[in-house]
């Protein structure tokens, strides 16, 4: 009897604990690592999470010449071929967004990383694709960003 009440109490309290995760449209993080180290940590973590970096695009050519404070700005494209194929096949509209990319740029001695929350792709895909795949992308991205934060 008491045990059952306690059980109820436990579940009631668990229910009211603050929820941890927050879904943002844009996922951002600041790494205290300087740009080259952050870039290295990013690519390494992407690989460790099972994704392939398909290209690193510079978009900073000439930036300093234009008065910019940094010439360190890259776009990292990454994905898993099987997932990308499923997506472009079942929801061809998504092609415009794929493969997913991460912007990485220096800010003073530190580095800022920015990416779109893949939940946006889930909205585009609608019922065509099981949203689990996007949830996993989102949590992988957060975990990759955490790695870049804590790498040293």
């Amino acid at each position: 009897m008491i045990a059952r009440r306690l059980g109820l109490l436990v579940s009631a309290i668990l229910l009211f604990l603050p929820l941890g995760s927050v879904a943002d449209d844009i996922i951002m993080t600041r790494s205290t690592l300087p740009f080259p180290e952050a870039m290295l940590a990013l690519q390494q973590s992407i690989g460790e999470h099972g994704y392939t970096v398909s290209r690193v695009q510079r978009i900073d050519i000439g930036l300093t010449g234009m008065g910019y404070k940094t010439d360190k700005y890259r776009i990292v494209f990454a994905g898993k071929i099987d997932e990308i194929r499923v997506m472009t096949e079942k929801s061809p509209q998504l092609a415009a967004y794929l493969p997913p990319k991460i912007a990485i740029f220096a800010e003073e001695g530190q580095t800022v990383l920015v990416t779109l929350n893949p939940e946006l792709y889930a909205e585009i895909a609608g019922d065509a694709i099981d949203p689990v795949i996007f949830d996993r992308w989102t949590s992988d991205l957060r975990s990759i960003f955490d790695d870049v934060n804590t790498a040293n």
């Binding site: 929820l19 398909s54 740029f105 585009i124």
Partner: protein, 355 residues
């Protein structure tokens, strides 16, 4: 089991459970530092020194704002001025972040009365035009740009916040504004207006004028609606190859430089296995890129510009992300004009190529 025994077991069970619950509660108490790092440091700096966002650790700032100002600013953000709203954080989480920001100062937080000051709006508007508009804008729209972005030298002054912003007006009490005007914000361009010779009544007049922005704030600062299509997509009557060639011409005629053409799967599989029916054209206009990056360094995420051509059983399609939709994600009203421009460029290119 005797009755005594049974009670003993229950007691232990109860004590154990209570201890367990306490442990759960303690580990669940929101950690302000962690939350700050997760949600704020990307823009405001890990020590609050500023970046994409304004500095938060300056003593002159912390000494002049109360905890309610900080909490409401976090909850509501500053619509159209980059600072996002955080509707999903709990009150406890927000309080923990506020506590963490406070830890940068050893002074206690000021406490302000929520009561309005009595000021003369008309006189306030004259004083505002004379003393404030040069930095905060004629209608309180704030300086161009926000915070100290990566594209500006850090030694440059902090940009004046928007005072006609619903987020600012909801967060600031009149007394907080008065304190800010009297003391100024040492370490920023915002000076003390007591020192500059404004009397206390004049300061209250200015405050009442700033408050009057509340009535017409909905104009101007609103960003493009969120209900835009996420994608621009048109069918092409041509073959995939012809469509790609048409796009190249259309891109150049819009004064953009074609950077490269590759397959969507490029780099993800062996070249021989790449799907040849998904082609990406990357292009750029450097002037445009510089201007957009100066407004918001995060737009790099959508640069260089790109259109995607795909061929399936349904036919050939050309698609691009819709920059006008992206605009709302950034919560940056200054970006809207660039996004609109880019939207028009995409539409023209897609239409030209599929005519």
């Amino acid at each position: 089991m005797t009755g005594m025994h049974k009670r003993d077991v229950y007691m232990r069970l109860i004590c154990g459970t209570i201890l367990l619950l306490l442990a759960v509660q303690i580990s669940a108490a929101p950690n302000g530092r962690q939350l700050y790092v997760a949600h704020c440091s990307a823009c405001h700096g890990d020590q609050g020194h500023g970046g994409v966002g304004v500095p938060l650790s300056l003593p002159s700032f912390l000494d002049s704002v109360d905890d309610r100002f900080l909490a409401v600013t976090i909850r509501q953000g500053r619509p159209g001025r980059v600072m996002p709203s955080f509707p999903r954080l709990s009150d406890a989480q927000i309080a923990a972040i506020v506590g963490y920001i406070r830890s940068w100062s050893d002074k206690p937080a000021p406490r302000y009365s929520p009561l309005p000051v009595k000021g003369d709006v008309k006189n306030g508007s004259l004083l505002y035009a004379k003393h404030c508009a040069s930095c905060h804008g004629e209608n309180g729209e704030g300086g161009t740009g926000t915070g100290v972005t990566f594209s500006r030298r850090r030694e440059l002054p902090i940009i004046a916040p928007a005072l006609n912003n619903s987020g600012f007006l909801a967060a600031a009490s009149d007394e907080m504004i008065r304190q800010t005007l009297q003391l100024g914000r040492a370490g920023t361009p915002m000076g003390s207006f007591l020192e500059k010779g404004l009397g206390e009544q004049e300061i209250d007049d200015v405050i009442s004028f700033v408050r009057s922005f509340a009535q017409d704030q909905d104009e101007g600062t609103k960003t493009v609606a969120a209900n835009k299509d996420k994608i621009i997509r048109v069918a092409s009557p041509y073959s995939l190859e012809e469509t790609v060639e048409n796009l190249k011409d259309a891109i150049v005629s819009q004064n953009f430089i074609l950077i490269r053409t590759d397959l969507l799967e490029h780099g993800l599989v062996k070249e021989a296995d790449e799907n040849p029916k998904q082609v990406i054209l990357h292009f750029c206009n450097f002037k445009f890129l510089f201007d957009a990056l100066a407004v918001d360094p995060r737009v790099g995420m959508f640069l260089p510009c790109r259109v995607t051509v795909t061929e399936t059983d349904a036919g050939v399609f050309v698609s691009a992300i819709n920059p006008e939709y992206m605009s709302h994600l950034f919560n940056n009203a200054e970006l809207d004009q660039y996004c609109k421009q880019m939207h028009d460029v995409y539409v023209t290119i897609l239409e030209d190529a599929t005519l």
